[in-house]
Symmetry: C2
Subunit: 356 residues, 2 copies
């Protein structure tokens, strides 16, 4: 009996081929649109999304490996991203801080449908979500984007936000001058017509309309700054805080502004919301987007999007790439699961052998 079904593999290199072919702006615009739609149409009866969990450790270096599952009832599938965060990777191993793959499973039979790189998708979707949060909460005429932490995530933060605002200035900082020195070069390919200014954290906080923080500040070492006067409408996308004990923003700033988390329960464990009591936290992003008229006031005041990442976001970006890959005939199929056997006999393959 042979009812073996293949698993679709989509490597990082295949994803690059797709982006190369379609163009990075096309991909980002499509991702922002699909992500926005997934948020405003979100239904917790259809998308079942437990709080992620994982292993975190300080030896051999600081690290985290966690799993982010989601079940889509209507699509009859489960998507699980396994994501690793190892901030010493670039320095010690010439590898990205975030390494990840995402698997999808059919809930009819349990078959593993696909395995897809999660490195590029994670940075793209994290950027797309900041763009969506900024479009809701930042001043509509925002021109000055501040970037604190100029690593891999900063590139997609800048890219995504540049797709929804007419930026004229990018002011940026990294604690590692090699990283800040290369930021302009690394983002040249976006072809943005903006002025690049290297600045201090305080310059960035005081002069920006929108700020993205995406640092690898250590556990217990935050916040990145204290007590800086901001434009009254500043919007901050706090992207880096995603680890118990890791925070980027001062508590007073959170108390002064409106804090909108992506996923409250998770943000209270590993986001900026670790610093807050439940009654100090605003509505989550999905609620704000579903009721956007009620939340227009945020455009004129200090607002903070506490971005920790959700498996729903991973499902959207994986579906987007999988669809493009299948249309473009990119990717490969492998037979991984041992289903090529009598369903009642795990040893049936032995019959034809010398051990039969």
């Amino acid at each position: 009996m042979d009812n073996t079904q293949p698993t679709f593999l989509l490597s990082g290199e295949s994803l690059q081929d797709i982006v190369q072919e379609l163009g990075i702006n096309v991909i980002m615009d499509e991702l922002i649109l699909k992500m926005y739609n997934s948020f405003v149409n979100f239904n917790s009866d259809n998308s079942i999304m437990p709080v992620r969990s994982g292993f975190n450790y300080m030896k051999p270096q600081e690290g985290l490996i966690e799993w982010m599952p989601i079940r889509d009832v209507a699509k009859e599938k489960v998507t699980i991203k396994v994501v690793a965060y190892h901030p010493q990777n670039p320095t010690l191993h010439l590898l990205p801080t975030i390494i990840s793959t995402t698997s999808t499973y059919d809930t009819i039979t349990g078959h593993l449908l696909s395995i897809i790189d999660g490195v590029l998708p994670t940075s793209l979707r994290t950027g797309a979500v900041s763009a969506i949060a900024s479009r809701l909460m930042a001043h509509s005429d925002s021109k000055v984007l501040g970037i604190i932490g100029c690593g891999a995530q900063a590139v997609t933060q800048l890219h995504a936000i540049s797709r929804v605002f007419s930026l004229d200035t990018v002011i940026y900082y990294d604690i590692d001058s090699n990283v800040s020195d290369s930021f302009r070069d690394r983002t040249n390919l976006l072809g943005l017509d903006v002025q690049y200014i290297e600045g201090s954290i305080n310059d960035i906080i005081s002069t920006s309309d929108i700020v993205c923080t995406a640092t690898s500040i250590g556990v217990g070492a935050g916040p990145l700054f204290e007590d800086v006067k901001t434009k009254e409408w500043l919007h901050v996308n706090a992207v880096g805080s995603d680890f118990p004990g890791k925070i980027e923003l001062p508590k007073q700033m959170l108390l002064d502004g409106y804090v909108c988390p992506d996923y409250i329960e998770q943000a209270m464990i590993e986001g900026e919301c670790q610093q807050l009591k439940p009654d100090q936290i605003g509505s989550d992003l999905i609620t704000c987007l579903k009721n956007s008229e009620q939340y227009q006031f945020l455009k004129n005041q200090l607002s903070i999007f506490d971005s920790t990442g959700m498996s729903l976001q991973d499902q959207v970006v994986v579906d987007l790439f999988t669809n493009h890959a299948k249309e473009m005939n990119i990717g490969e199929y492998v037979f991984l699961e041992n289903t090529k056997t009598d369903t009642q006999n795990p040893y049936s393959f032995l019959r034809a052998s010398k051990y039969a």
Copy 2:
């Protein structure tokens, strides 16, 4: 910058090649030995094993997809089995009830080291654990093995137990006569010198020295039998109960005997221990094995091993197959993760393109 590391793929077919080459008895004996060693040397500071969680549902059919993680501190790796249970699979889809793959991750960088079929390993390790539990708790002269539920798991239960006891009789039952009728044929390849008797559940419970229950009885439909007199030293491996609401054994039997779960917290959620209060549950298998002299009394009384499955068991069987595969040059390498890029720039690959 290219520091891409490959992921090792070991398919179900590759595992079959390994078993074919080494022989199923060699594999099972080695697995029982390594599994036993992993239990008696278990150290919860080294092997960090959260209770598994997952999605379970009744539509489109009854099903479960769950993840079973373990971190091995000394080996600097995380092993995650994703396992699906869909009891309608054989009938509706010609697929096994249990479909699974296991992934391992390096805790130094987060790199995905390997993906290996979990279908054959799951049935092998579940058999091996029942053999270990039976060797501890069953009467040393056990000759009669009862099998209730003659599907895929029954084959490896019989095989594993036949490696540690001198069986002379196998008495078996399945609710589906097609499945019971084929059981002898399906296990012929084991070459056992035993008498096969098809019997009723009551015959099995009353005449066996050791019983293995591995049924797909529905949620809320258990137990499989009520109030049957047994040999006073009967040992039962209750393998099938691994789903909230699914039970195989009558509560009175559990109360009359000594119940040893593999993992108490998990067994209370999805095993036979769902029926018990904490003070009605005995020590877990690892505790019993580490202190086996204290538990010799179990050989002369009714005992029940409540087997729900642990990620430690999956780690052992995955390591065993991975080692053999590498020695035998079986398996393949793929480049899945998008690490072939500037660690600070997810778009670096675009530089050479028309979009640069």
